[in-house]
């Protein structure tokens, strides 16, 4: 990480009461990122990546219990009053969700949704807000933006709806954009377009971005740093290149190996990860990945490995049997 932290998450724990017991969705997570940086958070369903992003946005379910600090631009968001939070969510932190059909209001036109946001947060008059809305739609690659303003979300394709959601998120020039699986609901060619758009706007606006995804392929070419989550914890974190070149955590490596490769011959058996993630209401004493790990040792079942630095470039891993022990020495 370079420069002072824009966002710093300190020892965040999120717990949800369920009929089956207490579910610890986020388990002592520390993360920080600088202005203008792109951070990827990678993990499978239920690993806590979405709950972590909700904790940053202070949009957790009512029953959830949060502890720890979420420092953004010098303020602890956990202690902010609702009015200050409301302001911050537009001009400080904006979000793009997975499904643009549910994040847009189906009974309001695209224009109303954009103009409302601009008037509310930037105090523009109606004419200026409409003009600005059309500019924003054009900037996110929507053809004939003037006409689109009068259309409803259902009249747009999934890719176009996601572009609108991005335009709304960007409209107040946020310092941080959280994109939570922004392309999971989209087809592969549209996914490429949306990821290009996010990367371009992020660079152009020098905006920080958290890109949450289950796909290591999505973060590889488009982030500066990656945090891999498993069972509520960050199990490996590194500058993106280092992560892919010197994977330390067996889970990260297994996740990468399980992706079918285009250059492999047909019918090549895939390196599946046996078993499944642990029940989050029944936390394990040791490493959460231990029951599925090929490198498991006796210590892994007794103790939780702490996030340990692998080098002095910010590469950390939580494992007693890292894959490349020598890497920490060589750099």
């Amino acid at each position: 990480m370079s420069g002072p932290a824009l966002l710093s998450i300190e020892d965040v724990v999120v717990e949800l009461p369920t009929p089956r017991g207490n579910l610890r969705a986020v388990d002592h997570v520390d993360l920080s990122m600088a202005a203008g940086q792109a951070l990827g958070i990678v993990g499978e369903s239920g690993c806590g990546k979405t709950m972590l992003s909700r904790a940053i946005l202070q949009l957790l379910p009512k029953k959830a219990r949060l502890s720890g600090r979420v420092m953004f631009d010098g303020q602890d968001l956990v202690r902010l009053n609702p009015e200050a939070l409301r302001k911050l969510r537009a001009r400080g932190i904006a979000v793009v969700f997975q499904d643009p059909m549910t994040s847009l209001n189906p009974v309001l036109t695209i224009g109303t949704q954009l103009i409302e946001t601009l008037q509310e947060h930037l105090g523009l008059d109606a004419a200026a807000a409409r003009r600005r809305s059309a500019e924003l739609l054009a900037a996110v690659g929507i053809p004939a933006p003037g006409q689109r303003l009068d259309q409803y979300p259902h009249q747009l394709s999934g890719g176009m709806r996601q572009r609108v959601a991005i335009a709304i998120a960007l409209c107040c020039e946020p310092k941080l954009l959280i994109a939570d699986e922004p392309t999971t609901a989209l087809d592969v060619t549209i996914q490429a377009q949306i990821l290009d758009l996010l990367a371009r706007e992020q660079r152009r606006r020098h905006m920080a971005m958290i890109l949450i995804t289950h796909d290591l392929g999505v973060v590889a070419g488009r982030t500066d740093e990656v945090a891999v989550m498993y069972a509520g914890r960050v199990v490996e974190r590194a500058p993106t290149r280092n992560l892919f070149k010197h994977m330390q955590m067996p889970y990260t490596a297994a996740l990468l190996a399980a992706i079918p490769k285009l250059d492999a011959a047909p019918h090549t058996p895939l390196a599946a990860i046996p078993g499944r993630p642990p029940d989050p209401t029944r936390p394990l004493k040791g490493c959460s990945f231990a029951p599925r790990c090929r490198h498991v040792g006796e210590q892994c079942l007794r103790e939780k490995p702490a996030l340990t630095p692998a080098d002095n470039q910010g590469h950390c891993y939580a494992c007693f049997h890292p894959l490349e022990i020598a890497a920490g020495v060589s750099t």
């Binding site: 499978e44 369903s45 394709s157 999934g158 890719g159 176009m160 087809d187 592969v188 060619t189 549209i190 996914q191 490429a192 377009q193 990821l195 290009d196 990367a199 371009r200 289950h214 796909d215 290591l216 392929g217 999505v218 590889a220 070419g221 488009r222 993106t240 290149r241 992560l243 892919f244 070149k245 297994a254 996740l255 990468l256 399980a258 992706i259 079918p260 490769k261 285009l262 492999a264 011959a265 047909p266 019918h267 090549t268 058996p269 895939l270 390196a271 599946a272 990860i273 046996p274 499944r276 599925r292």
Partner: protein, 328 residues
């Protein structure tokens, strides 16, 4: 022989589809879901069918099983004309064909026990002996890697998505079918579970001598399991060919675009920006001529005027393009 029918690549097709057209009325308009598709699948082969949402790939799968009747065209299964069959005759031949769906949890009845869910096809097929049914259910559950004793008495919600997909596979296998259509069987699953299910499908194919039509939008997934791949765009086939060859040397610009758009998990491979332009047009008003022309960098006046026919371009590889990327 019809010109350009990739059927000819297949010697003894188990399934043969000729000039299949499926259209749905929508108000006063018509959705052209499948337009003049011909393909064949050899016994023991896996044919991958890829395309983006709305391209008609699921409709094609359903029309093959006669779950959705074709507007025109023929579907032959083991020499028998399915489009001509009705009632009992159709039901009997369907025992030899099964379907696995995308959402494994939604495709299991939440109120029924797993043992009953898997025995149901046997009941329908007329296996009256309850002991025999139980024996077959236990056998097939063990085959898909589940412990029958722990599974048969439980309800679907007690299982994870990956386990539910194993149960769906068991249900599809219990009648000992010859042919299975897998419609996006792993899209709803996490990466680590997806690999388990793909490996299981491959293993089951070997063990039970299955022929598969594997429908998916993810090219890497399709390539991992398919002998040949057919690429579909807006109701028409663009390209058909042996999978390794098709990925190495795609002939259709759309196939090339799909390959290029896949995010590569390697930070040294910079994502190629700007390769994907535009969006698929509406299947209610498909473009004239080649349906991909509105997004194609190579398109010209001829592409708007003439529908390109599937024609051979390399060994076993067929392309429907006036200006393919490789010379035929």
């Amino acid at each position: 022989m019809m010109h350009g029918n990739p059927t000819m690549a297949v010697r003894t097709p188990l399934l043969k589809v000729d000039n299949l057209v499926v259209e749905y009325p929508l108000g006063t308009r018509t959705i052209h879901a499948v337009s003049d598709v011909s393909l064949a699948i050899a016994r023991g082969e896996t044919l991958g069918l890829v395309g983006e949402s709305g391209c008609g790939k699921s409709t094609l799968g359903r029309a093959v099983l006669q779950l959705r009747r074709a507007t025109s065209g023929r579907v032959q299964f083991d020499g028998e004309e399915l489009t001509a069959l009705q009632g009992d005759a159709l039901r009997r031949i369907r025992h030899r064909m099964q379907l696995i769906f995308q959402d494994p949890i939604a495709s299991l009845n939440p109120r029924r026990r797993i043992g009953d869910i898997i025995a149901e096809p046997l009941v329908i097929a007329g296996v009256r002996d309850a002991n025999k049914r139980q024996e077959l259910v236990w056998e097939v559950l063990s085959a898909v890697g589940l412990d029958p004793a722990l599974v048969v008495g439980r309800l679907p919600h007690e299982f994870s998505g990956g386990q539910c997909q194993r149960i769906c596979i068991a249900r599809a296998l219990v009648l000992n079918p010859e042919f299975i259509i897998c419609d996006e069987p792993v899209s709803a699953l996490d990466v680590s579970i997806r690999a388990q299910i793909l490996n299981l499908l491959e293993e089951m194919k070997q063990r039970f001598g299955l022929t598969l039509l594997f429908i998916a939008h993810d090219l890497a997934v399709v390539k991992a399991v398919s002998d040949r791949v057919a690429v579909m765009y807006l109701g028409r086939l663009c390209e058909v060919g042996p999978s390794a060859q098709l990925f190495e040397k795609p002939a259709h610009p759309y196939t090339a675009l799909l390959i290029e758009a896949i995010p590569v998990p390697d930070p040294d491979v910079r994502p190629a920006e700007g390769v994907a332009v535009g969006e698929p047009p509406s299947p209610m008003a498909p473009p004239s001529g080649c349906r991909f022309r509105t997004r194609c960098p190579r398109a010209d006046a001829r592409c708007a005027a003439e529908v390109p026919e599937l024609r051979p371009v390399a060994a076993g590889q067929y392309v429907a393009c006036h200006y393919p990327l490789i010379a035929g």
